[in-house]
């Protein structure tokens, strides 16, 4: 009962904040509401026994990506944004597409059947600690995808510098 109440609180807050984020006029307000939302998602991760991912969520999303967004908003210095039109002309079509997606998922959910449980029970993770269990899996079984992820980050760094450099687009 208590866990359902907990989940209900997080669900209501997350959905409300998502609606708030996509409807604000000022992008700075959107970013700040997104910060609140990321804190709630981290809480949901804690609720699901994923404490390492909760920490990563706070450090990476709330700490790095949102600061990046804020920096870019301040660089752009958008003054007319608060008076400009918010939505495109045919916004009901986009909204209908989103609602259609929810209806599609909701109609398939009742026949969803859970697969057999894997080897990582809560006790097994607890005895190894979450970060260690995740790290063992990441650096042993998923070593090659991990290296590819580092390559993606390298390309992102180089690409961002090349794209944002002054005078690179004459």
């Amino acid at each position: 009962m208590l866990s359902k109440l907990f989940f209900g609180y997080f669900a209501v807050v997350l959905v409300t904040l998502s609606i708030v984020i996509i409807t604000r006029k000022n992008p700075v307000h959107s970013v700040l509401w997104m910060l609140v939302m990321f804190f709630h998602i981290a809480g949901l991760y804690l609720f699901l026994n994923a404490e390492f991912l909760a920490a990563v969520q706070l450090i990476l999303y709330a700490g790095a990506i949102l600061v990046l967004f804020l920096f870019v908003i301040m660089m752009l210095n958008i003054k007319e944004e608060v008076t400009a039109k918010r939505f495109i002309g045919c916004w009901p079509a986009g909204a209908a597409l989103g609602v259609l997606f929810v209806v599609m998922v909701a109609s398939t959910l009742p026949v969803f059947q859970q697969g057999p449980p894997g080897p990582f029970s809560i006790e097994a993770i607890k005895s190894a600690t979450h970060a260690k269990a995740l790290g063992t899996l990441l650096y042993a079984e998923y070593l090659f995808p991990f290296e590819i992820a580092s390559l993606i980050l390298l390309i992102a760094i180089v690409g961002a510098v090349v794209l944002a450099k002054k005078g690179s687009n004459e």
């Binding site: 866990s3 660089m75 997606f101």
Partner: protein
């Protein structure tokens, strides 16, 4: 115990709000933030499934998604900065160079 279906439903709702935000907003910054919203919805679904199916591989996938999200935000915002330098606008309907 909360059923797994609730988490998948919550994730679907947040994902669709991300879709709606991406489709209906004029501001490219908010569109990029909607993409982050969608990626976070997928992350919630993966973590919930990994907890209920007792398999950590879903959480490994979340680590990779966070990596790609960081790269996507950096590249997207760099494109936005160079776009703003050339056109001085962040509205999608002002960008009609490639219209036939």
């Amino acid at each position: 115990m909360v059923p797994l279906n609730w988490y998948i439903g919550l994730s679907a709702v947040i994902f669709s709000l991300g879709i709606i935000g991406f489709l209906i907003r004029r501001n490219i910054l908010i569109m990029l933030m909607s993409v982050e919203l969608m990626l976070n919805a997928v992350n919630i679904c993966l973590v919930a499934c990994s907890h209920y199916l007792q398999d950590l591989r879903g959480q490994v996938l979340v680590v990779f998604i966070i990596t790609v999200a960081a790269a996507e935000a950096a590249i997207g915002l760099a494109i936005l900065v160079s776009l703003f330098r050339n056109k001085a606008t962040v509205h999608t309907d002002a960008l009609t160079e490639m219209k036939g």
